[in-house]
């Protein structure tokens, strides 16, 4: 029975992610004084990519790369409680799931590195090298923030962290532990991968980064993963720092605002080079994270 609920919420999250991607593309187009794609364009792109007739493979890892990436995204989803206090939409949340989610975030990246490496295109190798080094530095402030809130609430279960934040917004982590929130929200910018931290895919410069050789169904899987990952990471931050959600409306509003904060910064700022972004993550967010750990203990 639980599986059916999980599939149902997966369906909702997937559709919400696709719609959100479409609307965000429209919004960023308006910033550039364009009209932009129709809001249902991500659906069409997905159908088209799954309907490509001829596929080429570069080897076993080339197949497994997108599979790893997608299983990383779905893995995060499976252990994420969506709606607080609702047994239907808690997925497989359990004690210690926070550690598991941090682990799943990295496994997709590693799988993609193997797949893109076997693709053999120089651009994908440059892209994945940048991606791995950037993501490693993102993990530093993120992990410090997680240590800080784990010490604050004395638990590693997301459900219990959400439960501790109930009862008005003065109980949210952003009010009780602003330093950890600041460090994690800066790390969030890098996780979503808009400018200034989009040097991994780097449109116009390093044409597509890791997915250069992926096409057809492989690319469709990567797109599916991308929309799920964006929504589920917003939901993770909502659960950890903004008091979670008690119904779907609150979830959508909060997740959209958190996601839009990354998009907003992405449309305003230009791109960092990889050495600049690494230095940046290891400087301000890391100091904030260390301070958060010191203050809470």
């Amino acid at each position: 029975m639980k599986i059916l609920y999980v599939l149902f919420s997966f369906f909702i999250i997937l559709n919400y992610g696709l719609l959100q991607t479409g609307f965000i593309r429209r919004i960023t187009a308006r910033v550039g004084k364009r009209i932009g794609v129709p809001f249902y364009q991500p659906y069409i792109d997905l159908v088209k990519n799954y309907a490509i007739r001829s596929q080429f493979s570069h080897g076993v890892m080339f197949y497994l790369g997108p599979v790893f990436r997608l299983s990383g995204g779905i893995g995060i989803f499976l252990f994420m409680p969506l709606i607080y206090g609702n047994e239907m939409f808690s997925n497989f949340s359990m004690s210690g799931d926070l550690i598991l989610i941090l682990y799943f975030m990295f496994i997709g990246m590693l799988g993609m590195a193997l797949g893109a490496g076997e693709g053999g295109h120089p651009y994908s190798i440059i892209g994945i090298t940048r991606g791995l080094s950037q993501f490693t530095t993102i993990e530093v402030p993120m992990t410090l923030a997680v240590i800080s809130i784990a010490a604050q609430y004395q638990t590693l279960s997301i459900s219990e962290i959400v439960a501790a934040q109930q009862g008005g917004f003065m109980n949210w982590t952003i009010m009780t532990n602003p330093l950890a929130t600041a460090a994690a929200m800066l790390a969030f910018l890098g996780m979503i991968g808009y400018a200034p931290f989009n040097v991994v895919n780097a449109p116009q410069e390093n044409p597509l980064g890791p997915p250069t050789e992926f096409h057809g169904t492989f690319l469709g899987m990567l797109q599916t993963n991308r929309v799920i990952l964006h929504v589920i990471e917003s939901i993770l931050f909502m659960n950890l720092f903004f008091g979670g959600a008690t119904n779907w409306l609150a979830l959508i509003v909060k997740a959209f605002i958190i996601y839009f904060y990354a998009v907003f910064i992405g449309t305003v700022f230009p791109r960092f080079r990889i050495d600049q972004s690494i230095k940046w993550f290891l400087f301000i967010p890391t100091i904030l994270g260390i301070l958060a750990v010191i203050f809470i203990s």
Binding site: A29, G36, V37, Q41, D45, V47, K48, S54, F56, L208
Partner: protein, 233 residues
């Protein structure tokens, strides 16, 4: 200390085929670390030269119709600046013409694109690269010839170094006439292409696979320094 080479280049025979072979594609005798020696032939070993196969459309008509609709509404362009026409492609994506409205998006790699725009005259040297890019695109794929040069040579019709008719070298779906066609004409070309795809006529990739020998013969007639595999994906 100079690096010791672990391979010996085998000089190719002096035949018509090997005349333009690049030194990096010469056969070589490699000695592995364990002392075993074997011959590496880059042209055959590093590229796949299997012939393309036609892919039949979905047999269920309504499914194929739906997929064709999706393909027509999501055209990913390989904007390969072959000639002066490429200057007309950039304004397409900017606010004035905004081709994104019609589901047309640019893609930097042939692996992910569906539409190959040959923008203007095609010199023989570029034709070689265009063919390689075209063959790397996954099926179904479409080609748009932009400008008069791709139709009959245009003002380059008697040039020693450009091709005159594009459809002898790759199957073309839509021609956009003009010298140069404005971005509006390009948009009209996209609309025409969409109509064709929705009618199920955008089967250029299958046509290329079926008449592969004819296309290859035409290509080899103009490309004198053919030093790549016959079919490379």
């Amino acid at each position: 200390m100079a690096e010791e080479k672990n391979y010996k280049i085998i000089q190719p025979e002096d035949t018509e085929e090997n005349k333009f072979l690049k030194p990096e594609n010469y056969k070589r005798e490699v000695t592995a670390p364990d002392g075993e020696t074997f011959v590496v032939d880059p042209i055959n070993d590093y590229f796949c030269d299997a012939k393309p196969q036609p892919h039949a459309p979905n047999t269920i008509k309504i499914v194929e119709k739906f997929l064709n609709w999706a393909r027509s509404e999501s055209i990913w362009v390989l904007g390969y600046g072959t000639g002066c026409g490429s200057i007309e492609i950039y304004p397409l994506m900017t606010p004035r013409f905004d081709a994104y409205r019609f589901g047309v998006q640019q893609r930097p790699t042939p692996r992910q694109s569906n539409l190959f725009i040959i923008s203007g005259y095609l010199s023989v040297k570029t034709l070689k690269r265009a063919i390689r890019s075209y063959e790397q695109m996954p099926s179904p794929k479409y080609v748009m010839g932009l400008g008069s040069c791709t139709i009959n040579g245009g003002m380059y019709w008697d040039s020693y170094n450009t091709i005159n008719r594009l459809d002898q070298y790759m199957p073309v779906d839509v021609y956009v006439a003009g010298c140069m066609p404005r971005p509006e004409a390009l948009l009209a070309g996209f609309m025409e292409l969409k109509k064709r795809i929705k009618e199920g006529k955008g089967e250029g990739a299958n046509e290329y696979a079926e008449k592969f020998d004819w296309y290859k013969a035409n290509q080899k007639k103009v490309i004198k320094d053919w030093n790549m595999p016959d079919y490379n994906w």
